[in-house]
């Protein structure tokens, strides 16, 4: 798609500002009513989804140019998709999140980039990961484990930890816990180890389409060669990328499963038994890419058509992604199944979840903004009285861990897989 393809979205934006808030029906307090971290930081209307649609229109019509301020308004955003959910409460014809991605890709293609992101992409290009780490170290987490090597062997499933789980030493135990669970389940799986490549999802969100394309191509080829039919990942962003972006952009038909879905299924089937109670009050953070951006996805191509004279719909009917069917229940099922765990929900949950602050290139380009976003979420977690915040995404976890040190919110941070492993 091109930015012009979103011209209609921009023209049909009503500047209602719903994109700045969580769905109004779900507001439980004034304190935790806001939905857009970007607006909280940037304040001007341009920092909202609606504002970016206007920016797109303004640029397309030559009314303005890409200045440093404009770049700031475009890039200072986690692309968390809260705006998309809120807009779609009332609108069936708008795709604000996609439009914002397209806006980024457009200005990147025109050379308006941020040096911090350029640097990250250079690392992706040469070392195939988003952390700027040497590719050869990617498989170190699995050094002591006996796992099929899919560069040489075949398997039904590929376990794809993703960049953060692979390289982040503090999270490596989670990666190993995943493997343990998969082995207990007895499925036929393998890994690519140091040959694993980034999903490319974040590169896509940052606006670097070509780099995403090359990662997608590489991964899909590798999986095909290894005979893989299903990819399992503990990383929410990878999950979203494989199930949405690969399907939409790269024609992938591979099945994608997140670890929480896998574990929840095992729990339901009685194949996973929790024997060690974990006495703790926890609250669960819905990662954007697993929740509202983690809905089952079907690629679509078609055209706008009008009914009743002017009402917009699509031919063929365009599936609707508004966060309603994200992966929300499975992690909660798991937590409720672990003895001793008391789950206390935050106000902004499920499709209204406040972003952790790590996505979209924010962590790399705007660390203060990223940190402030995480702080806000931790404050909300603290308000529940829970002792710990649990999530199902490495990036969320990392951002919370980094923030917690300086935050007033003295909470523990857990990956849900970690809690599962502790309870087994």
């Amino acid at each position: 798609m091109a930015l012009q393809d979103f011209r209609a979205d921009a023209m049909r934006c009503t500047r209602c500002a719903y994109c700045k808030w969580i769905p109004f029906d779900l507001i439980k307090s004034a304190r935790f009513s806001r939905g857009c971290p970007s607006m909280e930081a940037g304040k001007y209307h341009s920092y909202s989804a609606g504002g970016r649609l206007i920016t797109a229109l303004s640029l397309m019509d030559g009314r303005s140019t890409v200045t440093e301020r404009v770049k700031d308004s475009i890039f200072k955003c986690n692309l968390c998709g809260q705006c998309d959910v809120s807009c779609k409460i009332c609108r069936y014809d708008m795709e604000p999140l996609e439009a914002m991605r397209e806006l980024r890709a457009t200005i990147v293609s025109e050379g308006h980039t941020l040096p911090q992101l350029d640097q990250v992409i250079e690392g992706l290009r040469t070392q195939f990961n988003m952390l700027g780490q040497p590719a050869k170290n990617r498989g170190n987490w699995a050094a002591a484990l006996q796992i099929k090597n899919l560069t040489k062997e075949s398997a039904d499933y590929v376990f794809h930890p993703g960049c953060r789980y692979s390289f982040d030493g503090e999270l490596a135990h989670v990666t190993r816990d995943c493997v343990d669970i998969l082995q207990r389940a007895g499925i036929d799986f393998g890994i690519f180890g140091q040959n694993e490549k980034c999903c490319g999802g974040r590169a896509y969100d940052m606006g670097y389409r070509a780099n995403f394309n090359s990662m997608a191509k590489a991964n899909l080829s590798a999986w095909k060669r290894a005979g893989v039919t299903t990819v399992i990942t503990p990383c929410a962003e990878c999950y979203h990328t494989f199930s949405r972006k690969y399907t939409a952009k790269a024609g992938s038909e591979i099945k994608v499963v997140h670890m929480v879905q896998f574990i929840a299924q095992l729990v339901r089937e009685g194949k996973l038994k929790f024997t060690r109670p974990q006495k703790m009050t926890v609250t669960y953070h819905d990662p954007c890419h697993l929740g509202r951006q983690g809905e089952p996805y079907v690629a679509w191509e078609g055209e706008e058509k009008k009914i009743f004279g002017q009402a917009v719909c699509y031919d063929p009917p365009r599936p609707r992604y508004n966060g309603a069917f994200g992966v929300y229940e499975e992690p909660r099922e798991i937590l409720r199944a672990i003895p001793g765990i008391e789950l206390r929900e935050m106000e902004r949950i499920r499709e209204a979840s406040w972003c952790c602050g790590a996505g979209g290139g924010s962590r790399e380009a705007y660390p203060e903004f990223s940190r402030a976003t995480a702080d806000e979420r931790l404050e909300e977690a603290r308000s529940t009285g829970a002792a710990a915040i649990v999530t199902a995404c490495s990036w969320c976890e990392r951002n919370f861990l980094d923030s917690i040190e300086s935050s007033e919110a003295k909470l523990k941070v857990f990956d849900i897989v970690e809690l599962v492993a502790q309870a087994l």
Partner: protein
């Protein structure tokens, strides 16, 4: 052409609000110039109103006052907005230096006085936020028809103030208590008990009420200074302290507590509809009272809303639904209908209200629209009307909505213009350039003032802002509405004030000069001279130049 305020002015404002809180970047400015309905009034259907020359985000009354005083010094117009929805929120002229205040930093709930039932808020506190907080205390706030994303200060001080809950909770003009106003000259004025240092609780007096100059039927819509705080009267709420919606987006559902009832009432005729309204007024039942769902058009409403509550469906499904025989039956049953939510102080009270309502319906020949009263639709109706967080559905069809007609009056008066409005709109839809939803896409409050007696119905005209021919069709409808109303001796409706946004000043004055009573317009000129000596406010605060009334042009 990029226009900027003088560097010295920019620097001085920056010193007041901080460098982060002022911008004159063109793209940033465009995010304020872009407004809904701009394309109906601007040359070449441009979706941008005149661009402000700078955006300022003040953080306090003191900053608002200081920047305003500075703007006086430099002759820069000031146009404040809270959430800033509708084309008149933007500057009205291209060639006038204008600073737009975006008041989003002034977002605190200052105080909630639970016992005395009022709250004090800053301009960026939206209805949803305050409602969530006061419900914890067994209270509620009147949310205006534009929905819970709107500013309370704006609706109470600067705009209209009516909503589905006004029948029980009052219009926000009635609910306005003390207020704080920064005049265009930069003076901070407080009204009511606040100016006598007695607190926020009373808007009247001392003596005659100074608040009488700050708003009337409408407020000044940013055209006469900035409102920086107000106190708003609250009403009782018998529901749970926190709303716990169920279901999936978009049609969240709100379980109906035992002291509530949620109904869609159908009427066999407009006469019966009006009679029913009068009986509801006489009998004083009704917590939320609104003709809401008909915004989609009577021909399509049943199909649309029954589709909407299914999270697996899209607007494509409405096309199928409309042809379904059962939907067709429901469409006819609900053709003339409205929504009514009852709240009781006790179980006995709500049971009695039910009894009263049943008697009223028998007397008027009205009935409950069964399908809409089933749990799924009733709970959705409850959610929709209690929080009023789906008002963007006004734009659901294609992103463009313009509300025409809406002449306020008694139910009999409104009933009088309904067939004309329906007929006229149906004709305008024939070209297919507007959404063809049937001539009756009338929506409006059960009463726009507390206790009943006054209502209005507006046509929901849906057009495609991305299609010039559709925009033209909407403009044609507006012009048709103006001539149709004039022909029938009906006062002009909302379309008239929307069109005026694009008129040159002289044309607006000519129109005002044709008003049968011009006293208030001359009064407002003098108020403007007194409180806005350097003419920093725009014509959202209407006035007539001296003597203009005596030389009307055609």
């Amino acid at each position: 052409m990029i226009r900027t305020i003088p560097k010295e002015a920019y620097g001085a404002i920056k010193d007041i609000v901080g460098a982060d809180n002022i911008s004159d970047d063109p793209a940033i400015l465009d995010s304020y110039a872009f407004e809904v309905m701009s394309e109906l009034v601007r040359p070449d259907h441009c979706h941008f109103m005149p661009r402000p020359w700078a955006i300022v985000l003040p953080g306090s009354t003191e900053e608002v006052a200081a920047v305003t005083r500075l703007c006086n010094k430099y002759g820069i117009k000031v146009k404040p907005i809270s959430t800033g929805w509708y084309h008149w929120a933007a500057p009205l002229k291209d060639d006038e230096p204008t600073v737009q205040f975006d008041l989003r930093r002034m977002d605190k709930i200052i105080e909630i006085d639970e016992k005395n039932m009022y709250a004090v808020v800053e301009p960026y506190v939206i209805c949803a936020q305050l409602q969530a907080e006061v419900m914890k205390r067994g209270l509620n706030v009147n949310i205006i028809g534009a929905g819970c994303s709107t500013s309370i200060v704006a609706s109470a001080c600067a705009y209209f103030g009516a909503g589905p809950s006004s029948f029980y909770m009052g219009n926000n003009s009635e609910n306005l208590l003390g207020q704080e106003w920064v005049t265009p000259a930069g003076d901070v004025i407080r009204t009511g008990s606040l100016s006598s240092n007695c607190g926020w609780f009373c808007s009247e007096g001392p003596g005659p009420s100074p608040r009488g100059i700050t708003r009337g039927t409408l407020g000044s819509r940013g055209g006469l200074g900035t409102y920086t705080r107000c106190a708003i009267k609250l009403s009782p709420w018998e529901g749970p302290p926190v709303m716990e919606p169920t279901g999936k987006a978009p049609g969240y559902r709100l379980p109906i507590p035992e002291k509530f009832r949620v109904y869609t009432i159908g009427a066999p005729s407009w006469d019966a509809y009006a009679d029913c309204f009068y009986k509801i007024y006489d009998n004083g039942i009704g917590y939320i009272f609104h003709r809401q769902f008909n915004l989609a058009g009577a021909d399509l409403a049943a199909a649309l809303w029954l589709t909407y509550i299914d999270p697996t469906k899209t607007l494509n499904d409405v096309e199928t639904a409309v042809a379904d025989p059962e939907i067709k039956r429901i469409t006819e049953e609900s053709r003339i209908s409205f929504q009514l939510i009852l709240q009781g102080s006790s179980i006995e009270n709500i049971q009695l209200q039910d009894k009263i309502l049943n008697a009223i319906m028998r007397q008027c020949g009205c009935y409950k629209v069964e399908r809409f009263c089933e749990p799924d639709m009733a709970e959705f109706t409850n959610m929709y009307l209690q929080r009023l967080g789906h008002k963007h559905c006004n734009y659901m069809w294609v992103g463009g909505y313009m509300g025409s007609w809406m002449q306020p009056g008694t139910p009999d008066f409104v009933k009088g213009y309904v067939p004309i409005a329906i007929d006229s709109f149906a004709k305008d839809q024939e070209s297919g350039k507007l959404v063809q939803c049937g001539g009756d896409a009338l929506m409006g409050c059960g009463s726009t003032i507390g206790g009943g007696g006054l209502c209005g119905l507006e046509q929901f005209v849906s057009y495609d802002p991305n299609d010039d021919s559709s925009v033209d069709a909407c403009i044609q409808h507006m012009e048709d509405a103006v001539t149709t109303t004039a022909r029938h001796g009906i006062p002009p409706g909302k379309e008239y004030i929307y069109l005026q946004v694009g008129w040159p000043e002289e044309k607006v004055w000519d129109a005002l000069a044709r008003m049968p009573q011009k006293f208030v317009l001359n009064f407002q000129r003098k108020i403007k001279e007194a409180f806005d000596p350097n003419a920093l406010g725009d014509r959202n605060y209407p006035w007539l130049p001296e003597g203009w009334g005596e030389k009307t042009t055609g």
